[in-house]
Amino acid sequence: MFGYYLEIAVRSLRRNTGLTLLMVLAIGFGVGASMTAYAVFRAVSGDPIPWKSSNLFVPQIDAWGPVARADDGEPQDALDYTDAMALMRYHRAARQSAIYAVAPSVLPTDASRTPIPLGGFAVYGEFFPMLDVHFEYGGGWSAGDDERGTPVVVIGAAINRRLFGGADSVGRMVSIAGRDYRVVGVMKPWNPQPIFFDVVDTGGFGGDGPDLFLPFRTAIAADMENAGSTHCPKGRMPSAPGFAGLQASSCTWIAYMVELDDAVAVRRYRQYLDDYAREQQRLGRFGWPPDNRLRDLRTWLDHEHVVPDDTRVSMLVALGLLLVCLLNTVGLLLARFLRRSGEIGVRRAMGASRSAICLQFLAESAVIGAAGGVLGLLLTGVGVLGAGLVLPVYLAGLAHVDARLLLLTVLVAVLATVLAGLYPALRASRVQPAWQLKTQ
């Protein structure tokens, strides 16, 4: 029976091509625009580490006091050197790492000997198990290496290909910023977006993934300067020059992440942060009571506005467009179905039940929705391509079309149109056969 309904639907649609085309266009554009906006939104708002994001936390310590606060009244989103080192020393979380961005260059051993600029991070050994970093060869370094400041390095897959032709390079030496480091691990290709472990320095997006990781103390000892942003409290610029001056100052430039396994651990860590700040207050370093934060990763990414406002507003406006397209479809379907009141009357008189009529018109809506969906697919493809041309460069590569998006496009189109057809189909099924037959 349903096949028959589909057949009638196609016939009736072909009879009135103008109106059909109008509806298909409206649904196609509505769905195309919403899906394009959704593709961009999905690309930037995804959870970069869904299996673990609820156990990862970012501590913030109020190291500047209430007078030096930003406009939103929140404490600084990075740590100064003193606090970061204290937190590492106390080591109260299951795993933790201080993190700062570095941009050294590496000297390859091949004939060219042209230095290659790299981007990476100085971290502690617990960084790798904490974030489930997968290794092609070798692994991270030990707590002993952290303490001693051993010159070791973990390199990315791409840089391993460039330097060592992709071979197992564990144990080989590389010359980074004029010093020799021993490779202890080669990561599998890893490029989380957003770069959740250091949003403060990276802004959240960009790049082809980190090239290397060095032990924090090693990088500090090698005077490898912070390649990310530095913020200093008003009127308290570093009093001594150089990188050493920055370390002694209350300027913030270090990202920090901890892993806490359950609610009790979270409570304890929160308590610990406050105890630490109170101790600093007692020592006279802080002249104010504790005002710290401990946000889980998702809340942290929200707090840092990692998803650009433009993306959210575009998504909202595109949804508004879809809503208008649907209202439009309701109206046009209503007109279309009621115009065929005579036909309905005949069918009802011949014994068709109300639900049969209803089903027939829903089938017709579904056909229109499917046609709109096909157009929507096309427009989504064009839209995502076009978005790549107008989006900021760092976002352009992220939005992509995949099977899930295509399926969703067609699904949304058909479902939305059937939903829009519900009321008109119901109205059509209420047509009085006697009255219709009389006027015929």
């Binding site: 001056g245 507003v313 406006v317 809503l323």
Partner: protein
């Protein structure tokens, strides 16, 4: 035209009326906000930077064989390397002027600090961007000096990037001078940059800061020129090409700098770029947003117009008989046409009145959640007029068809 028959007829088509009115309301709400966003973005992109943009080139590079450490010997060597580069660039045939220059408007790389009129750190302060460079920086960027003088060659200092030294003389932008000295007469006054004194020796008309991010939006034109060559393993230069010779100057500069020292990092993407490219890159997101809002508004208007045509056509079809009767009773074609136009005006009027409220509501919501400004009433009022006009145009075709219904229809049974 009497309202009564229209109301009576519309009451029989409640659903259709509500659908069209809602469509018009939503369209008005979204389009007026979208157009407002477009206007805001265009205004943002149109802001002048204060520099003469055509022919301005930024060179940014890193020496990979630079001396490490920040002892005096290393700083001297880095400064010598920088001066060599500047001299070589200055000798190029298509280069008019060259200056050491850490930052440029819109470019993103920013040093900033807090300025006060007294040395106390508790004094009311003004935030500003620091532009480090030499005595040619102002003229190379093309900034207009409105008071005072340029730096002299003797005033140019040089030190490491993380030095704590501060120049005793500065040139400030007019906006910063006004912010610090609202009564005027800033020239010759002493200001404190993060607590360290400096005398204002010159004022330039306008200089936008290098950042467009939200945290710097409150002081976009507060800039200070610092007579300092910053010495580090990276150094940046501002180059003014001879008129029309921008591309040639960029090619020459690349060749000449690599000839002086090939072990430097100066990639195509950010090593040597004309100012026009910096501008295009930084405003890409704004242009994209404006384009997207424009596209969505256009689709919305088309869809709504199509909906009006569709439903009005349906009503005309349903009322053929009544139209025939009216015509037979003496109504002219113009009367029928006017009836449907008026009917649409009534529905569109209701829709756009609701849309006015929705537009303001949407704007308030956007203001609350995102950094959007208040929507001026003019946008909504013009939007209402546009919606009414759109309705009239869309209703015209079916109304015309209605007016052509012959009176004889009244006598037929179908």
């Amino acid at each position: 035209m009497r309202l009564h028959p229209i109301l009576a007829a519309l009451r029989r088509h409640k659903t259709g009326v509500v659908l069209i009115a809602l469509q018009i309301a939503l369209t008005l709400a979204i389009v007026s906000n979208a157009v407002f966003i477009i206007g805001q973005r265009i205004a943002r992109m149109d802001r002048p930077t204060g520099v003469v943009e055509p022919g301005l080139i930024r060179i940014s590079q890193q020496w990979l064989d630079a001396p490490t450490g920040d002892d005096a010997a290393a700083v001297e060597q880095l400064d010598a390397m920088q001066r060599t580069d500047l001299a070589v660039l200055r000798g190029l045939p298509d280069v008019q002027e060259v200056a050491a220059s850490t930052s440029m408007p819109l470019q993103g790389m920013i040093w900033s600090g807090y300025l006060t009129r007294t040395p106390a750190s508790s004094a009311p302060s003004v935030q500003a961007a620091y532009y480090y460079g030499d005595e040619r920086l102002r003229s190379t960027l093309g900034l207009r000096l409105v008071a005072g003088r340029d730096f002299t060659a003797g005033e140019i200092l040089h030190h490491a990037i993380r030095s704590t030294a501060v120049s005793p003389v500065v040139i400030v932008s007019q906006a910063l001078a006004d912010a610090l000295f609202p009564q005027g007469h800033a020239l010759g006054k002493t200001i404190y940059q993060d607590g360290k004194p400096a005398t204002i020796v010159g004022i330039v008309e306008r200089l936008q800061t290098p950042t467009l991010s939200a945290w710097g939006s409150g002081w976009s034109y507060n800039s200070v020129l610092e007579p300092v060559r910053l010495d580090g393993d990276t150094a940046s230069y501002a180059v003014r090409a001879r008129p029309g010779r921008e591309q040639a100057a960029m090619r020459e500069a690349r060749k000449a700098l690599l000839a002086v020292d090939p072990v430097r990092l100066m990639p195509d993407s950010w090593g040597i770029q004309p100012f026009s490219e910096i501008r295009a890159k930084v405003y890409r997101a704004d242009r994209g947003m404006a384009l997207l809002m424009g596209a969505i508004s256009l689709i919305l208007l088309c869809v709504t117009a199509a909906g009006i045509v569709g439903l009005t056509s349906f009503w005309v079809g349903q009322r053929r008989k009544q139209i025939g009767v009216r015509r037979a009773l003496g109504a002219r074609r113009a009367d029928i046409l006017r009836y449907f136009q008026f009917e649409n005006l009534f529905v569109a009027g209701m829709g756009s009145t609701l849309g006015l409220l929705l537009a303001i509501g949407l704007n308030l919501w956007l203001m609350h959640h995102y950094a959007l400004k208040r929507l001026p009433m003019a946008y909504v009022l013009v939007g209402m007029a546009v919606m009414l006009l759109l309705g009239q145009v869309a209703a015209y075709v079916p109304a015309l068809r209605a007016s052509r219904v012959p009176p004889v229809v009244a006598t037929r049974s179908v």
